[in-house]
Structures are given as structure tokens and as C-alpha cells.
Symmetry: C2
Subunit: 208 residues, 2 copies
């Protein structure tokens, strides 16, 4: 993984999808608009459906150079030969995930406090997701928000590349970028848009 | 796996557990009473908890010779080096599960119709779970019940060892056994019992 891959990081959520396109169509539009990495994050889905959706997304992304990461499920990542997994603090312990996936796969870890960030500094994760920057409607089981000053501190303490997630959109992105993150992760700002390509393009222009 | 391992097959469900013991205690009591195989089946559980619970059960079962099987989750099975997985029709496709687990692990597959049983005959699964024999409160997302005559037909058509599941208890077990199954799987008849060892012993005596 290149640090630049984190720049505009799309996290999926079928529940938020605008009715005018499928998940694969939305992702391809978003990639055309400048998304640099895709995380398939789906809850309330059977393993069979998760694997089938992952295979369709992997085919759709083939040739784009955009890495596909699976949230939580190491089995699904192995089944579809994804580029890696993103794990949270309630998911598989990092060391086991690394052992199952090998050294060549990307493993990102969510940190929800400075303490967890310092624990992540002891691991050879590929990046950390600093979560949530702001409180959000998309994910309601989260820890207290870092806020901009908390994010700035977390970025300065991290020995790993950082991606910020939680409530990031056109309005909040400039402040988030001022903290020195390697990338921003968005869900609803792109997934819920009727025009995911334009939504991605606008965010990408802010980033460049 | 020996065909005899299927004889008295316990499937867990923390939600049904009698308050007087932990899941590990219940399983060990049930094994002392004659259970020959254990499937860890838990829903609404984080991956982290699933792995930790699986590790505790694996330690508890060490030295008993009773195989530990994980429901659905190939990642959890790999993480705890379980003896295998049990997959349903909405779980990972069999061929992928076999590839990820290798030839030495047990893979059982649920079949919910004669058509699915005939499809399973084309796969080198280690056993099939014929489900459900009777309708049950434990699992409400199931297909129509086989009933005794349907079970008899399924057993006669199966080229794999068979275990019957769904509504099997002291009252229904004799009819089920008359169909020629290799084993019976039970959930509530043991899990919900205040005395899982006696519950297992009574079923084991029926089987012998």
C-alpha cells in the first residue's frame, strides 16, 4: 500500500445507497471521480451475500489500481482475495488477522482514543483509522468524537499513516486536512449522493 | 472425523443457556454426559468475542477428543484452529471454505431439502446436517420441516454421514434414530437444561 492510496477512502454502506444505482455502479462512479481506496463495510448480511458482493466489487475494480479492503471479515477477504482488511477494536485481534492474511495484505485498524492509538503504534498495521472525528448518523456505536484538536494530536502521535473518518464532508474536510492526515474516509458524502462521481471529484479537488 | 463423532452432536446458543453455568461449563458437563461433538453457533456476537469464546471452548475441550466445529465463520475457525466448520446454505460456498481450511478440517453442510441433499452428494463434505426434522423455537429462519418420513428418505439418499437437527429431544429421538441417521444434533434439550450432564446422559443411553 502506498500512503497516497489513503487520500480519498470510500467506505460502503448499502443502507445509504441512493436508489439510482447499485453498489458496484456507485463505487465505479466514485473511483472515476477520484476515490483512491474502497472498503466494503456491510453489516446484517449473510456470509454468502458478503462473498458474492465482494467478488462483484473486486471484478468491478480490476484494472483500476484502487485497493479493495473488507471490513472486519478476514474470511471474506481471503475468499475474494481482497487487498486487505480493516479491523476495529471489537474485530479479530490484529496479530491473528496478520497471521491469517500474511505480510502482503493491507491491515488497517480503527483507533477510538489516544490510548488505542498508542497501542497501535506497537503493531505493524499499515494504517490507522482515527474514528470518529465528528459524531455521525452513519455509525452510532462509536466512541466520543476526537474533534479537530484531538485529531491533530492523534496524527502527531501516530507512527503509522492516518485516515480520518466520521462526519467528513465538503464543509468539514478543510479543517480535517489541516491536521496532517494522509487521507479522509467518507461514507454518506459519496454513498448517499445521487451523483457519486461529482461528490468524489469535489472532495478530491479539495484534497489536491 | 469418525462417523461415530456425530452420534450426539451439541450445538451451542448462549441465549438459551441456563443461568447456573457458563457456556464452557455447560459444554464440559454435556461432554461428561456423552456428547461426542460440539458446534459453536453464536449470532449477534462481535468477531472479537467469538474468537475469545472459541479459544476458551477449545482449551476446555483439549484432551477430551471431542471435535470443536465453528458455525459459519471460517475466519473464527482458522483463528482458533478449530476442527472444522459447519456451513449453511447462506454461508460461504463449500468449495471456498474447503480451499481456505484445507483437506484435514471437517466441513459439515446443512441441507434443508432433498434437492440440496442431492447437491451435497456432489461435494466432498464430511457430513450433512438434515435440517430441520421438526419445526422449532430455537431457529426460526428455517425451511419447512422434513418430518420423519422426509428424514428417512433423505438419509437413504445421502452418500455422506448424516446428522439430524431440529426439535430433537427425549420424546422425538427414537423415531429419528429409526431413520438410520449417524447422529442427532440438539440445542435446547441440553443447552437450556439446568443439568446438561444428565440431559446428555439420558440422550446417550437412548442412542446406545
Amino acid at each position: 500500500m502506498n500512503r497516497e492510496d489513503l487520500k480519498l477512502y470510500l467506505v460502503t454502506d448499502r443502507g445509504l445507497l441512493h436508489k439510482s444505482h447499485s453498489l458496484e455502479e456507485m463505487v465505479l462512479e466514485a473511483v472515476a471521480g477520484g476515490v483512491t481506496m474502497v472498503q466494503l463495510r456491510e453489516k446484517n448480511i449473510s456470509t454468502r451475500e458478503f462473498v458474492e458482493l465482494g467478488m462483484r466489487l473486486k471484478s468491478a475494480l480490476a484494472g483500476t489500481g484502487v485497493p479493495l479492503i473488507v471490513n472486519d471479515r478476514v474470511d471474506v477477504a481471503l475468499a475474494i482475495d481482497a487487498d486487505g482488511v480493516h479491523i476495529g477494536q471489537s474485530d479479530m485481534p490484529y496479530e491473528i488477522a496478520r497471521k491469517l492474511l500474511g505480510d502482503n495484505k493491507i491491515i488497517g485498524l480503527s483507533v477510538e482514543s489516544l490510548e488505542q492509538l498508542e497501542q497501535a503504534n506497537q503493531l505493524d498495521v499499515d494504517y490507522v483509522g482515527i474514528s470518529p472525528v465528528f459524531s455521525t448518523q452513519t455509525k452510532t456505536d462509536t466512541a466520543p468524537a476526537f474533534g479537530i484538536e484531538g485529531l491533530r494530536k492523534a496524527v502527531s502521535l501516530s507512527k503509522h499513516p492516518t485516515v480520518a473518518i466520521g462526519g467528513i464532508n465538503m464543509i468539514t474536510a478543510p479543517d480535517v486536512l489541516s491536521c496532517g492526515v494522509d487521507g479522509i474516509a467518507v461514507v454518506s458524502a459519496i454513498v448517499a449522493s445521487p451523483e457519486p462521481r461529482s461528490a468524489a471529484t469535489a472532495l478530491k479537488e479539495l484534497l489536491d
